[in-house]
Symmetry: C2
Subunit: 395 residues, 2 copies
Amino acid sequence: MTQLRLDPDTARHALSGLRPIEDDAAAVAAYAAGVWSCLVEPGDSAAGALVAQHGAAEALRIALAAAGSRDPDKALQRWAPRMVAADISAAFERAARQGVRLVTPRDPEWPGRLADLGDHAPLCLWVRSGAGETDPVPLGAAAPAVAVVGARAATGYGEAVATELSAALAGLGVTVVSGAAYGIDGAAHRAALLAGGSTTAVLAGGVERSYPAGHAAMLDRIAATGAVVSEVPCGSAPTKWRFLQRNRIIAAIADATVVVEAGWRSGSLNTASHAATLGRPLGVVPGPVTNAASAGCHRLLREGYARCVTSVDEVLELIGLHRESPGRGDDDAARPRTDDLTRVGDALSPRSWRTVDDIARRSGLAVADVEARLGVMLLGGSVDSDGRGWRLAPR
Amino acid sequence: MTQLRLDPDTARHALSGLRPIEDDAAAVAAYAAGVWSCLVEPGDSAAGALVAQHGAAEALRIALAAAGSRDPDKALQRWAPRMVAADISAAFERAARQGVRLVTPRDPEWPGRLADLGDHAPLCLWVRSGAGETDPVPLGAAAPAVAVVGARAATGYGEAVATELSAALAGLGVTVVSGAAYGIDGAAHRAALLAGGSTTAVLAGGVERSYPAGHAAMLDRIAATGAVVSEVPCGSAPTKWRFLQRNRIIAAIADATVVVEAGWRSGSLNTASHAATLGRPLGVVPGPVTNAASAGCHRLLREGYARCVTSVDEVLELIGLHRESPGRGDDDAARPRTDDLTRVGDALSPRSWRTVDDIARRSGLAVADVEARLGVMLLGGSVDSDGRGWRLAPR
């Protein structure tokens, strides 16, 4: 078994085609970050802490030494079974062949929001975007991003809402993040693509394999103008564990998460849970209570984890962006109307002239109060007087 | 103009057919309460405060004296225009002819919850129930009650949900309170009637006139087994003001209010506002965001005034009643799964036997950890071993 090596030549060779050539230290660090992604399962906080303390390269040297020396530290032992040079080379080579880039936390395009995951943050991202290293589409770390996720078993209602929200968000320059699954995820990505906007798919397995297979064409289109990303290297299968951990990246890479439809035990509740844990704004779209596909959304509302969102404006509010919202007007309807003007108005007719005494009796107000209110209404043009009586003015 | 009199004979005469005969003081007090309802517009807190301080009879004597003496106190002047003995007699006589009862805050059947309205509480209720005074159906002050209200312009979805909730509540002995309007209100009353339960309609005008007219037969059925109530006397028109004030009674007479469908400016938001002001539990049923009939419900959710309710069990929770809820199971789906068992499970095949080393490499766990997890899984019956390798056990 070939020894895993960590020198500039090995690094430059492995990174060829994966990212621009750097100085020796940067190449070794980037290579080490990629190697780490081959050794750990997603969310490995022991690796995260070690890399945070020592940097990817030095941390990897420590792990390699420990594996060789039969160090009794269990946290260091767990990576030993995967320290197989040939497997790691194969992952890098497969990525290069598929036009996949390696992006590390030191790169300007790294999404800074991922730092909120702390030691659970991914150690690198494998990225399919644009035409690979030669014409990459940067991840766009600065642009606002909203995750739109939901049930695979979505209804027509849910897909329509996901489509409408995502198209509007994408049209406003907001990156739509999702997980490329059937149902809501697919509707969200497709709408963003159709709107000519930016969309990011986060996969649980390697980015070179389209999962689900039925979304291969869609993933190609996402890669062409947006990005398909994963923290696991090419050749990795999308296991249950990786799906659950993938969800933390969706939640962390976006400024807010919106769940459009989710059954009572939907995986998108896991994404919602990550968003809530990270303190990111979480919106859910309500739906018919007669529809099990919205039961998880209503549950999040009931339990107070999420805010009810029903329009793109309400989604924008989640991330602190505001658009002028036309039409909905003032808030009077929600408040009890307690003014005497209503009572005087009730006591008036549009046809008959009525005396102040009559209006006072009908409205249950004192004569002086009625006269005062009629004066206000006359100024506003809502009543007419013939000198002796009063009636409602024609509209 | 006949002077308005307040003596035992007048009281007994006026109350004849409206309620059982009482001693002189009680008769005068009950009569005075009924007279007050003829003088004030609903929610008149000046009258409420005066009656709270002096009792209905003495308060009325004070108001009569002030009206006669040209007292400069405006609050006392406002009732003068309606102190017309003939009009008041006519209201009492009309009630007696129609089998309407007069219920006052001193009566055992008075809904004690109305006291939460303070000086805005109704001074009496005019009640159509059973066969009038001879065979009344008491208001049932002690039974739990839930208001089910919503849009007149309801959708099939909203009416279906109102029907389902109300039938279930009525079947469990909960009185369904509503406003007898078309749409949600009507669906709620009808479902309670069909379920053989108790239902109360609170009207904005006199209870002897069916409003809306198309609900005359339904109101007759409600009166036969439940109650049709109003704080305004017979002969009173349902004005806008009275509708808005009627809503405070619906909110106050029920232990909780549920809004099933409400447009952006629906009157049922006014009922919801009263419930919130009273500190009563307020539930709203979500609906499709594509449906304007749920916009008001979603607004209440967004603004944090209301709790999302999707089932009768969740409505029962609002009033502190709990039923065993079958089926929904535990809460695992909402939490990230972080245990190594998942990772070991992912690394196993149902077909191939795999070595511990292989499983360690696939799962990214140390060999010792894998062995420990496999031991647990073997005890649980989820894996098999042939002595050299491991695989997933058949289900």
